[in-house]
Amino acid sequence: MKVSIYRYNPDTDREPTMKEYDVDTQGKDLMVLDVLNLVKEMDPSLGFRRSCREGVCGSDGMNINGKNGLACITSLSSVAPGVKEGKKALVLRPLPGLPVVRDLVVDMTMFYNQYEKVQPYLQNSTPAPAIERLQSPEERAKLDGLYECILCACCSTSCPSFWWNPDKFLGPAALLQGYRFLADSRDTATEERLARLDDPFSLFRCHGIMNCVSVCPKGLNPTRAIGHIRSMLLERGI
């Protein structure tokens, strides 16, 4: 099958190019990461990130035939009709909107800076109990669909609002994590957290186009989380 891969080394290349490879998959429905490993055997200069190879670490987020996803859990048959059969090329590019370090490896600094801004850790000003802070099953259930995020950046880098204002708009991943702590019954910093989100950019630059929901490899819904934060801001502000 034909594989077209974005190649760019900022130290030596004037501009990025798409390089084509012929890969023999023996008709198997491989994962995209398997195909990349076959390419790597042919061309060791190719750069990409990978680690757990089972959709847990979030290292191999990339743009696969126009849609962000994790290479390790995206099968060729799910990319687009004809890719597995070799009738259509597999096209791999780095996550959009972030600076390219090399080939499919992007600099995630802007993404992590926004993640840091939501202070993604439990804050509780009450005295610590002897054993642990307990939650009822109902309170714990509110965290379902929030805590599972693996920070692969597929969502934020598919969001046009994040492309245009990556320094001001927190992006879906950071906002999902922001709501994860707003929704936590053990966290007492709700007011401080909300006070940091009511400017015109941090949260309100989300226009609800839901690319984030469409691409999330874990099936999470950042748009819904953003809507919940907006409701909390509304209740606080009116």
Binding site: W164, D198, D199, P200, F201, L234
Partner: protein, 126 residues
């Protein structure tokens, strides 16, 4: 350190306020046009005199004033979003702030003219 994102050119300098203004103004515009459509359907033989009496009545003058203000506010919030998305350093380089400010001021002046012209038309009694 966490720094707050601020902007002196957004309508309310606050995201929630702008968001709310855009929703409320959208409802006003929607209700006005549905009401107007209903009136026009209910008046198949509408003549100028009837129209002038209807549109010149105090309730319609107030409703049309709300419409003009809503369109202006809605337009400002929307176009402010467009200018801060596309007229940035990423697309225009160093001149971005200057270009964005000029475009925003032109939009603001046009909207001001539109509002004043609208108010004169509605309340001028011509």
């Amino acid at each position: 350190m966490v720094t707050r994102v601020t902007s002196v050119t957004s309508l309310g300098r606050n995201g929630l306020y702008d968001w709310l203004i855009q929703r409320v103004s959208a409802v006003v515009i929607g209700v006005y046009f549905i009401g107007m459509l209903g009136y026009l359907i209910a008046q198949p033989n509408l003549d100028y005199g009837t129209w002038k009496t209807f549109i010149g009545s105090v309730p319609m003058q107030i409703a049309t004033t709300l419409l003009v203000l809503s369109v202006a506010a809605h337009t400002w919030v929307g176009l402010w979003g467009v200018t801060t998305d596309y007229l940035t350093g990423m697309t225009l380089g160093k001149s971005a702030t200057c270009v964005r400010l000029v475009v925003q001021m032109v939009i603001a002046l046009l909207l001001l003219v539109y509002v004043l012209w609208g108010l004169v038309t509605i309340w001028g009694g011509a």
